[in-house]
């Protein structure tokens, strides 16, 4: 396996009427040997185009693609030594499932026993041992996707490129297969780049996530950082279910406590969140101006319930209570503002809900540019 480096990578498509469309805009990336990267975004964000350029199905308009020490821009897909599972990169219909998986091992000069044992290993991992002798047209879409993934995993290559590798999987299998695939990738030290529109899948599998929108890279960081320290409102609201609470607020620094006055759609104050200035770093306080309008974000599971000390003024009541087995989702109304919280499964709200918004979980964004000012006070 090898390192993958993208330098100032661009892709411009020219439409029939001669208008240029930037599909990928100045993408830079260093992915270390053995790391797993998710390219995450909605349809049309440029994630698949980026992957296709690395695979060699699209030529880059400018910039460099390096796999290992090799510059691969001008190499054909087959010369790049990457294993792929692409939508539409079909299985061979006349070959059995087993032969489809083994096919990519044929050119590697290894014994038949070795091929068989490698095929069995990935087949067990992906739960397709019972269909190894079937032909692709006779198996379900979810099974075809698992075979395609098995074919890519088994190959010894410099990098694995996967396009929506788990989108068709049966819901009950998804979590366990994700875990096994991650385990396999980690233990075999494979370098992986996969495309997904599903933030749950990206967070579960990846070491690094590249969040894209309109061809731009919005943030490249670990799942933890993307979740705890989003660098803009787009990333903050794209990651996490339930999504981050995003509130418009006005800063008040003149009183004894630092206050965020939460505003509703009509710009009327609904409630305030308060912090002791002593507990806030000087350099952070310096970034907040009195009367400044900002966007405040806090993740639902970072709001603490039933704390002795509430740090907001106003009366909070729970407007809905959803018990979901391993967690509880609570809708909270405070003077007309609604927020959502996530609590442990044994939590039951009282009529007067006590809440604490911890300083380290408060994200502050510029109201206009939506770029981060502070991740944690």
């Amino acid at each position: 396996m090898a390192k993958v480096v993208l330098e100032s990578l661009n892709k411009v498509f020219t439409s029939k009427i001669g208008k240029d469309v930037k599909a990928v805009n100045n993408f830079n990336l260093i992915l270390d040997d053995g790391e797993i990267l998710a390219l995450l975004g909605s349809s049309g964000c440029g994630k698949t185009t980026t992957l296709r350029m690395i695979a060699g199905f699209e030529t880059a308009s400018s910039g460099q693609i390096k796999i290992g020490e090799r510059l691969v821009n001008d190499l054909k897909p087959a010369e790049r030594n990457v294993a792929m599972a692409f939508e539409g990169y079909a299985l061979y219909p006349p070959l059995t499932v087993k032969d489809n998986i083994a096919f990519s091992l044929m050119r590697e000069k290894i014994s038949k026993e070795k091929v068989d044992s490698k095929v069995m290993e990935v087949a067990e991992l992906l739960e397709i041992t019972d269909i190894l002798d079937r032909y692709p047209p006779s198996i379900s879409g979810g099974q075809q996707q698992r075979v395609s993934l098995a074919r890519a995993l088994v190959r010894d290559s410099d990098a694995l490129l996967l396009d929506e590798p788990m989108s068709q999987l049966e819901p009950q299998l998804r979590a366990v297969l994700r875990a096994r695939v991650k385990d396999y990738i980690q233990h075999n030290k494979k370098t992986v780049i996969f495309v997904t529109h599903d933030q749950t899948e990206a967070v579960a599998l990846a070491d690094k996530i590249a969040v894209m929108e309109n061809g731009d890279l919005k943030q490249l960081a670990s799942p933890y950082e993307i979740s705890a320290k989003p660098s803009n409102v787009f990333v903050a609201s794209f990651i996490g279910e339930p999504p981050m609470n995003i509130l418009k607020a006005k800063i008040n620094t003149v009183e004894e406590k630092l206050k965020f006055e939460i505003l509703n759609d009509e710009n009327e104050k609904t409630f305030s969140i308060k912090f002791n200035k002593d507990n806030i770093k000087k350099e952070n306080l310096a970034k907040l101006a009195n009367d400044q309008l900002i966007t405040l974000g806090i993740r639902p599971h970072k709001i603490f319930f039933n704390e002795k000390e509430s740090n907001f003024d106003g009366k909070a009541s729970s407007s809905s209570y959803h018990w979901l087995g391993d967690q509880v989702h609570i809708g909270i109304e405070i003077n007309g503002s609604s927020i959502i919280g996530v609590a442990d499964r044994d939590f039951e709200p009282s009529s007067d809900v006590k809440l604490n918004f911890p300083a380290e979980s408060i994200n502050i964004f510029d109201l206009e540019t939506e770029e981060v000012i502070l991740n944690g006070l």
Partner: protein, 362 residues
Amino acid sequence: MSYLKLENLSKSFKDDKVISNLNAKIDKGEFFVIFGPSGSGKTVLLRLLSGIMLLDNGEIEMDNQVINEFQPEERDISMAFQNFALYPHMKAYDNIASPLRANNKNISDEEIDQKVKEVASLLKIEHVLNQFPKELSNGQKQRTSLARSLISKPSVVLLDDPLRNVDAKIRFEMRLELPKVLKEFNTTVIYVTQDFREAMALGDRIAVLYDGKFNDINSPKSIYQNPSSLTTAKLFGDPTINNFNATIKKQNEFVEVDIKGEQIKLKRKTNVQDGECVVGIRPEDIILSNEPLENSIQVEFRTKTPLNLRIVFLVRLKNGLELLCSTTEEESRLIDENKKMYISFLEEKSHFFDKETKRNLE
């Protein structure tokens, strides 16, 4: 007193029995969720109820009246669809007003206006009433479609997976808001979804549809904690319930679970007979630790994946059995993957299922 009774409903397409002997009693004003995997017949069932598809057998009774032979428009049942199904040439306002105009040719413009504005205000779409569907976001389309299904105050409203095509933010907003809006109309809601969380969040009761019939009809908590079968149990939870073959043996105050030669002791009672069965335990009901606890066994750590604000650990027993265990983010920080790792089961949360029928043995 049940308001809607479904008795022995059956529907086949050629040899394919999609619905067979399905039964349910639904109360007035109830939020009744039909949940099942794709292809289980949920949409067919809604069509049978609405009257756009006819039953082979069985009876639909509403308010003490059999309505099998009633035309769709005579049933006082309305429907909203997953794909919104708005008239593209009509503004949102006229889409919402269309059932009123269709049902009553003599209705005055004032009355229409008053009703449209009332329902639009509840669904927070007053500001888009003059726009055409193509100018609306998916969330606004869904709200418009819901408004249209509610405006004539039907006794029963059928909602076919209405949040399927909207993004996460709107889906969560609607999960919180929808029950409140529907309560205002005092209507009986039959809601179809294939998302177990949505089913649990919204339903007063959930009916679990597979094999052509309702296998469990119960409150979300009861179904999750006490499913009637392994098949039902597996449809809830992400990750889903761990399940494996084992031999159980009762001892004084313990049940000993033997998994291919490895034993876990559960400090609980059961009336299940000693012998082979399938043991089920949900990922959040397995305790992970770096130190041996009472009745714990050592496992090998493989990997961990963050999932739905929790952390899922993949561990392996000495005999090769894989288990998924989940903890909160905070709890996961207390576990050091490089040290020895042990698991134990929350005793009362374990389930025993029949090996053949998959029925819950307790």
